[in-house]
């Protein structure tokens, strides 16, 4: 492929001039350096990144270290409300945040399919930089690899994150007690529908924008204000809110009840779900957090989230002592399960109760 090196982008995003990434850009030579400089260094402003050493050397922070890593392979790369770059920052930052940590540093590894337009990479880089700034993290080291056409799908990003556990944070399943409340920071289902509508060309759902955003500001505020009254947190990404409450029940050995009536579902998300036979409780979110708080602190948690701009934050459920036990320790089908059997349940507005389960895989649209 003919690469015009003379006309490299000089400023701003979206100036790829039609250039495409070639295998040579991943060979570790001059072109690789150029790619890193032109696309990434320009956007990621960090004094730790600038020297481009083999490792970033960063000063120690206070408290325990929180570490996490995540791979991002979303298709399409751009969707309403976000893109793979923003997702790669928010996803990792949010994993640190729900561990009770203040995110500090990110690493970013790019696996690029040969032929990807420079312009795409620039847009992604700029978006990552903006999201990192929003989240208060620095991208301090990274890597780029270029693979042959078909070796990956356009662009994969792997980010790792380092954060420092906040003083006063005491978070974990063992701290959850019956009576604790579930507080949700906002409406569910937007990211799942936004990505689906782009992927499948569903025009009617195109008004839905992904909620992709860092939640570290919210979690930090909750911990600073409420301290150990915050018991457990998770971001309901893949598998949605339902999956997260199933995890909560499993990890704590307690029953978890959600109240359907108070779970915010935007009307356009609800409409798309109805048409496609999807359940909003199982759709991915990328900018929400579910927090288990002591009963007495629940309203305060909602108020804090609302003050921080989360207008739809609400108490959506509670933790209860397990009631259901396996009769005699054996099911009629010989399936021996230890008692008690904690579960996650949804109370419907009609007073009915529905048992929530993890999905076997991705949620599939139903025809019937």
């Amino acid at each position: 492929m003919n690469v015009d090196r003379e006309k490299g982008p000089r400023d701003g995003a979206g100036r790829g001039n039609g250039r495409r990434v070639t295998l040579a850009h991943g060979a570790g030579g001059r072109l690789t350096a150029e790619l890193v400089r032109e696309v990434f260094l320009k956007h990621f402003q960090s004094r730790h990144l600038a020297p481009l050493g083999d490792s970033a050397l960063v000063p120690p922070g206070g408290g325990r270290l929180a570490l996490t890593t995540d791979g991002f392979v979303v298709d399409p790369l751009f969707f309403p409300g976000g893109d793979i770059g923003r997702l790669a920052v928010c996803g990792t930052v949010n994993d640190l945040a729900v561990a009770g940590a203040a995110p500090a540093y990110l690493t970013a590894s790019f696996i690029i399919e040969e032929g990807l337009p420079f312009e795409v990479l620039e847009r992604v880089g700029l978006s990552m930089a903006r999201a990192a700034e929003e989240a208060g993290v620095e991208v301090v080291t990274g890597d780029t690899k270029v693979v042959e056409r078909g070796g990956c799908d356009k662009l994969f990003i792997v980010t790792s994150g380092v954060g420092f556990v906040l003083p006063g944070a005491d978070i974990g399943p063992s701290r959850v007690r019956p009576g604790d409340r579930l507080v949700l920071s906002g409406p569910v289902g937007q990211h799942g529908v936004a990505v689906l509508s782009q992927r499948e060309g569903l025009g009617f759902a195109s008004s839905v924008r992904s909620d992709c955003a860092p939640v570290a500001g919210l979690t930090t505020r909750l911990i600073e204000e409420l301290g150990p009254a915050v018991r457990w947190m998770r971001d309901p990404t893949r598998g949605g809110l339902a999956t997260v409450v199933c995890e909560l029940a499993e990890e704590t050995g307690l029953d978890v009840f959600l109240e359907e009536e108070v779970i915010p579902v935007p009307s356009d998300v609800a409409a798309a779900c109805e048409l496609l036979g999807l359940d909003p409780l199982y759709l991915a979110n990328e900018g929400k957090v579910l927090v288990v708080v002591e009963e007495a602190a629940a309203q305060r948690a909602v108020d804090l989230l609302r003050e921080a701009g989360q207008a739809d934050a609400a108490v959506v459920g509670r933790v209860e002592e397990v009631v259901v036990r396996t009769p005699g320790g054996t099911g009629a089908h010989g399936d021996r399960r230890p008692e008690p059997r904690p579960g996650a349940y949804l109370r419907t507005p009609y007073g009915g109760t529905r048992f929530l389960e993890r999905l076997a895989g991705e949620q599939l649209p139903r025809i019937c």
Binding site: E200, L202, E261, L276, G277, D279, V323, V324, R325, T326, P327, G331, A332, H333, G334, D335, R341, G343, Y345, L346, R347, T348, P349, Y350, G351, G352, T353, R354, F355, E357, A360, G361, L364, P365, R366, I367, C368
Partner: protein, 399 residues
């Protein structure tokens, strides 16, 4: 309040549940109803109605999820087509995870097959028009509701002169299946006596049917009159909101109390007596009735649709006959070798659907038939009787 809102009004739902309970108490025994349609099943489950009615109305899920009743033979055919060189199999999403004897379409995709999910048959035609060098096979699965869409897609493929588009028709039609379901229980001594086929006198038979709103929009209310006229069973065509479903339950319970069998249309905002003749006409143009194999129920005469001979250029079972025969022979050999054939014969889903057997009484339940490795349709569907029983066991007091 929005229109859907009225049909979801919690106060109305509670009042209806109370009314149903009073009627059942007056009757003096619990009532067993079948909701025939998969969408009803999901609505019942999502709204928690099954739990609200627990103890006085037993809602059973019928054979109305087209994916769940697709036979393993048809699934083996689909996998064979997916693995044939040069083909692209295009399907509705929920087909990809249902196992035949040789695995699922999802597994075929992992093995290199090109399996794509669409939201309409028209999407499959569009894809075929874009890639003329590959043969696109659309999996025609569904009841009367989806068939007109498939017929329209065929009309479009015909108009475009597409040579690389065909369908594998595994379409099902409902009335004959309902008849087959009623027949063994009702055939001997109507509802109550010892029916042939292992039925028991102490088991509640089906007392009536909640009939599918969308299918009925096409075939019309009249299509079900035979249930009342020939078998003395009441039915109610219902919409899909909680209030719709509960009104149907209330009317059916009242019919049982009054000893009166009628088929009511409680979804008149969508369903007419005669249905939608135009939709049926476009389906008739391309398809004709044929016997169909239903998972768990066996072969039922005139309960399926195949392409008419004049449209055989769109018929995958003609165009890809060799690949299908090869694939099926391999599947059969494998089923024999692994003992799967024996399992399939031992499956009692038909009896479970008819209300003659409780799921744990099936010899396969929880042993060789589980939600992860289902044999019959009642375990394939997450809300099928067997899958629900497997999951909810021990939670009866909470759900």
């Amino acid at each position: 309040m929005s229109r859907a809102g009225d049909f979801r009004d919690p106060a109305l739902v509670k009042a209806l549940v109370a009314a149903v309970r009073r009627d059942v108490e007056a009757l003096g025994r619990p009532v067993t109803l079948m909701e025939v349609c998969g969408t009803h099943t999901v609505a019942v489950s999502r709204s928690g109605l099954r739990g609200l009615l627990h103890g006085f109305v037993d809602l059973r899920s019928g054979p109305g999820c087209p994916v769940c009743v697709t036979s393993e033979t048809d699934l083996d055919r689909m996998v064979a087509l997916a693995l044939a060189p040069g083909t692209v199999v295009v399907t509705f999403g929920d087909m990809v995870r249902v196992p035949g004897t040789v695995g699922t379409l999802e597994e075929a995709r992992a093995a290199g097959a090109d399996v794509r999910v669409v939201y309409s048959a028209e999407g499959a035609v569009r894809a075929a028009a874009e890639e003329p060098e590959r043969l696109f096979v659309f999996l025609g699965v569904g009841f009367e509701t989806t068939q007109p869409g498939v017929a329209l897609a065929l009309r479009e493929a015909d108009r475009l002169g597409l040579e690389n588009f065909c369908i594998l028709s595994a379409h099902k039609t409902l009335p004959q299946a309902l008849r087959a379901l009623i027949e063994p229980a009702a055939g001997g001594d109507a509802r109550g006596g010892d029916a042939p086929g292992g039925g028991r006198a102490d088991r509640p038979r089906l007392d009536g049917f909640i009939l599918p709103g969308h299918v009925s929009a096409v075939i019309g209310r009249r299509a079900y009159d035979f249930m009342a006229d020939e078998y003395g069973l009441p039915g109610a065509v219902a919409g899909f909101e909680p209030v719709d479903i509960l009104v149907a339950v209330r009317e059916l319970v009242r019919s049982v109390r009054a000893g009166r069998a009628r088929v009511l249309n409680l979804y008149s905002r969508v369903v007419r007596e005669e249905g939608n003749p135009r939709a049926r006409a476009i389906v008739d143009r391309f398809f004709e009735p044929c016997p169909a194999e239903w998972r768990g129920l066996g072969t039922i005469p005139a309960s399926g649709l195949k392409l008419r001979p004049e449209w055989e250029r769109f018929d995958a079972s003609v165009r890809l006959r060799a690949a299908l025969e090869d694939g099926l022979a391999r599947a059969r050999a494998r089923a024999q070798r692994t003992g799967h054939e024996r399992l399939r014969r031992a499956c009692r889903c038909g009896d479970v659907l008819r209300g003659e057997l409780l799921p744990p009484e099936c010899p396969l339940f929880g042993r060789s038939c589980t939600p992860v490795r289902p044999v019959g349709p009642c375990m394939v569907s997450t809300e099928g009787s067997c899958a629900a029983y497997y999951r909810y066991e021990g939670r009866g007091d909470r759900v």
